[in-house]
């Protein structure tokens, strides 16, 4: 009988992390940031009908970086679980924190399974704060949860970035971000940040309304707070 190879748990984890970070390094970024009326989400994405940012529930949106096929199924399952919970109890009982835990458990389980490839994605689960919630309620503030491939998640404040150059973009936002931006100012901040990052890249790099995907969760909307911005609207905001 042959002796099985011994690989230490640290090594297994490190291998998986290396594997995923090579994938994520290629992924285009998604930025979420607070603006005056809610949360603005911007992704570099020249595709017209395949989205990285999408509506999950009344106040909740999901943004993803990495492999679209792996993220797509989690998006649909997130909608399914949210609708079932809202149907069973009440729409307000569906929260980003609950959904984040659901995703986190799933992604963690996949990452730990010995016979499965970890998911090469990162997620941002965003929820718009409830303005008329009690003063001490955690629901009052906007929530942004950043979930890594292994299900480990963190709460972010004011802005969050996922994708290959997330660290570099976050550093720029740390310097340039201010509270209470208008939507146009917030969008311009993101596109300028993308340009700064790409300054050393090839000359043909372009960032324009056709190459970005923009959506928002806005307080002024009725029950469904999520809205995708049209190319025309983005053009106007960038002018």
């Amino acid at each position: 009988m042959s002796t099985p190879y011994y690989v230490s748990p640290e090594q297994i984890r490190q291998d998986k992390e290396d594997f995923v970070s090579r994938g994520i390094a290629q992924a285009k970024e998604v930025v979420v940031l607070e603006y005056r009326d809610g949360l603005l989400m911007v992704a570099e994405n020249p595709r017209k009908t395949t989205f990285k940012i999408s509506e999950i529930y009344d106040r909740i949106a999901l943004a993803a970086a990495g492999r679209i096929a792996e993220y797509e199924i989690l998006r649909v399952v997130g909608i399914r679980e949210s609708e079932v919970k809202g149907f069973r109890y009440y729409r307000e009982d569906v929260t980003a924190k609950w959904l984040t835990n659901l995703y986190s458990q799933h992604m963690g389980a996949v990452a730990q399974a010995w016979d499965a490839k970890p998911l090469e994605i990162e997620l941002l689960v965003c929820e718009l704060g409830v303005t008329d919630a009690p003063a001490n309620s955690e629901l009052r503030n906007n929530q942004i949860y950043h979930i890594a491939f292994d299900g480990i998640y963190s709460e972010e404040e004011k802005y969050a970035v996922i994708g290959g150059r997330a660290t570099a973009i976050t550093e720029i936002l740390e310097q340039r971000y201010t509270d209470g931006l208008e939507m146009s100012a917030a969008l311009q901040l993101v596109t300028q940040t993308f340009r700064t990052i790409e300054a050393d890249a090839a000359d043909d790099y372009q960032i324009n309304p056709q190459t970005i995907e923009v959506a928002c969760l806005e307080q002024t909307a009725e029950r469904r707070k999520f809205r995708r911005l049209s190319t025309d609207e983005v053009t106007t905001l960038l002018d």
Binding site: E83, F87, H106
Partner: protein, 264 residues
């Protein structure tokens, strides 16, 4: 791990049936009891309502009275019988209140679930067809008298006009070109609409004849509530146009009725 197995194959109703049948008690409880005798009375008794829809030049008006009836008593004075479904459609229900509200809610979630997962809205025709299945799935309860009969209306973006669909108890779907009213007061409302309706009417005229039709239905039918001027409870009126579904403000409905009463 999350169960990912039903990706891309299911609507919300199907998911509930398969995964959470306990949440669909209304629509599945009837299986064992469907041998109960059906009487003429059981079919008639519970449609205590008047809901209606009228096509006008920019879309469709949908409206309903506010009264729920328990036998010969008023069960509820402010019940809602008209519900927006998505940006371009609305449903009104007649029948047993519990299953009615349940069906309207389920239908709304199904359509929104489709829109979110697919990224586009389900066509008006598709919505109307799905509602057929939902009505049919309630057949067992309907045979025992707990009937749900919806009226469905919306603005068809492709055909650029308002459309109305009515249903029978086994899910048969029939389109009406200009107007329709259902419920115990439906026939009275239809009589008014028949006299007042002309093709291509504008919004104001459509609201006027809808208000009058509910008035007449409430006048003839004990199970239909007219405007309650003392408690300030008025029928609900919605318009569905290319711009979306909009509720006619209560103050505007009050004006409609004050005008109507002054003309009587």
């Amino acid at each position: 791990m999350l169960d990912l197995s039903d990706y891309g194959t299911s609507g919300f109703f199907q998911i509930l049936k398969r995964r959470h049948p306990e949440l669909l008690a209304t629509f599945t409880a009837s299986d064992g009891a469907s041998n109960a005798p059906v009487t003429e009375a059981s079919f008639r008794h519970y449609e205590a309502t008047t809901v209606l829809a009228v096509v006008y030049n920019a879309g469709v008006v949908m409206a309903g009275d506010r009264q729920a009836t328990e036998g010969y008593q008023v069960g509820e004075r402010r019940i809602q019988k008209v519900y927006p479904v998505d940006r371009h459609s609305a449903i009104a229900v007649a029948g047993a209140a519990g299953p009615c509200i349940e069906m309207a809610k389920l239908f709304q979630v199904e359509i929104e679930f489709y829109e979110k997962t697919e990224g586009v809205s389900l066509s008006l025709e598709g919505q109307a067809n799905f509602l057929s299945h939902l009505v049919r799935s309630n057949l067992g309860l309907a045979m025992q008298g707990l009937i749900v009969l919806p009226l469905f209306a919306g603005y068809d973006l492709k055909r650029q006009r308002g459309r109305i669909f009515k249903y029978d108890a086994i899910g048969g779907r029939y389109e009406e070109d200009d107007y329709y009213a259902i419920g115990s007061g439906g026939k009275d409302a239809r009589t008014t609409l028949k006299k007042r309706y002309t093709p291509e009417i504008d919004r104001q005229r459509a609201l006027e004849i809808v208000a009058e039709a509910i008035w007449d239905a409430a006048d003839e039918d004990i199970a239909t509530g007219g405007p309650d001027l003392i408690r300030k409870i008025f029928p609900t009126l919605y318009t569905v146009t290319e711009e979306g579904v909009a509720e006619v403000p209560e103050t505007a409905v009050e004006v409609l009725y004050n005008d109507l009463i002054s003309r009587l």
